[in-house]
């Protein structure tokens, strides 16, 4: 079974290469579908496969840049990317990340960085999960009310609608984002991206997990567009991250390229699945992914407080992440295959009907 292991030229470790392909496939599917880099899945995954943590982070960034580029290309062709909005948000993201990173340094000097970051992460994930499911419940309530009055709820109706109120604040310059069909003050996406960037900088994550729902609930993007635009930002920040980590000598390019083979297929599956899954379907599965992430972080937190239980909590966190990634990837793949089958069947029936 030696052929299943490959020697990594830089880090000098033997790695189970099918594991890299599977990891790339899974993160490609999830990233393409939700519009995130997936660092919370890949870094621990690479570490489990045998990479030292520094190489796990650097390699994750490199594959994330390539994978996000593939997803952005595909989303762009579907019209799911608002490049103007993405570039405007990039301004706030960069400044926010830097402020967040400086804050981490300040907390480090105070000696309370670990606790603050861990609990901030938990609070954020709880809020995100609540927001997503509250929004879904609110929309279902509207649907029931409309049905009671023998009416059809507008397909564009949302459960939580904070964006409309935020759009009413017209501080110049007011911009119109054509693809997203949003007219708002330029300061709204800049402030929102500053906030999400600040959180990402403190937590040390790519930010897709926060930015995608922020685009939906605060900026008012349609779900599909939020996914595509977020991936565009992830691709740009990922490319810079790749340069930085490569210069520090912490990127295992061979592993990143093997992962990209899986990610290229996965990204296509994830992005094409957004053709067949409704916006609220994406939001619901995203909420489940957030819960999976939350359980994993909680396991790690409890393990830090009670080291005696690490024999149970450490594998539980790993199983939780891998289980959620597998289950969600399978769900997205099934939806994509079902949708594609229906589309191909409809195409075949079209000439017969004419």
């Amino acid at each position: 079974m030696d052929w299943l292991y490959i020697l990594m030229p830089i880090s000098g470790v033997y790695i189970f290469w099918p594991g890299l392909v599977i990891l790339g496939l899974g993160v490609g599917i999830i990233g393409g579908f939700f519009g995130m880099g997936g660092a919370w899945m890949v870094t621990p995954g690479l570490n489990i496969l045998g990479f030292p943590m520094a190489f796990a982070i650097g390699t994750d960034v490199a594959q994330m840049a390539g994978k996000s580029l593939i997803s952005t290309m595909r989303h762009g062709k579907f019209g799911n990317v608002d490049y103007g909005l993405g570039l405007t948000m990039l301004v706030g993201t960069i400044v926010g990340v830097e402020v967040g990173a400086q804050m981490v340094m300040w907390l480090e000097r105070l000696g309370s960085v670990d606790k603050v970051v861990r609990w901030l992460y938990v609070v954020l994930l709880v809020l995100l999960a609540w927001l997503v499911f509250h929004d879904i419940a609110a929309r279902r309530k509207k649907e029931r009310e409309a049905r009671a009055q023998n009416k059809e709820l507008d397909h564009a109706a949302t459960g939580v609608d904070w964006a409309t109120r935020l759009h009413a604040i017209k501080i110049p310059p007011v911009l119109h984002f054509k693809q997203a069909n949003i007219t708002c003050s330029a300061w709204l996406p800049i402030f929102v991206s500053f906030f999400t960037g600040w959180l990402a900088g403190i937590l040390g994550i790519g930010g897709g997990l926060i930015r995608m729902p922020a685009l939906v609930y605060l900026v008012g993007c349609p779900t599909h567009l939020a996914v595509g635009t977020d991936l565009f930002e992830v691709a740009i920040s990922g490319l810079y991250g790749t340069a930085s980590y490569a210069y520090k000598g912490r990127v295992e390019l061979l592993a990143a390229l093997i992962m990209l083979c899986g990610a290229a297929i996965g990204a296509q599956i994830g992005v094409v699945a957004t053709k067949y899954v409704k916006g609220y379907g994406i939001r619901f599965v995203f909420g489940l992914a957030v819960i999976g992430c939350l359980v994993s972080v909680l396991c790690k937190l409890i393990e830090a407080e009670f080291p005696a239980w690490s024999w149970l909590l450490s594998p539980a966190a790993t199983i939780d992440v891998l289980g959620f990634v597998t289950a969600i990837s399978l769900y997205i793949t099934v939806k994509m295959v079902q949708g594609a089958k229906a589309e191909i069947a409809a195409k075949k029936n079209q000439p017969a009907a004419n």
Partner: protein, 101 residues
Amino acid sequence: MKKMQRLWTWLAGCALMVAALPGMALAAGGGKVANVVVVADTRKLDGILYWWAEMYNESHLFFAILTMAIIPVVGCILGWLADVVMTHMGIDLRHRELSEK
């Protein structure tokens, strides 16, 4: 007037990007990198992997430049190949009906 405002926003963004780029790496990477010196062991390697590890040992800058070039190019090629396969299967990759917000 609107064009000027957009130009100013764009210029401010570029200036901020140059000033704040170091933080991007942290956000993209998910944390700090440990300060250890890494030298690739080339004794077990041959062919292109040997050349790659040698180049890494000689110049991290050249290694970074090549990595930065290879990742997007390979990404684009693989993305294009996957596109070809999906189109061949009969999936329309150009149109999508927006089912809802």
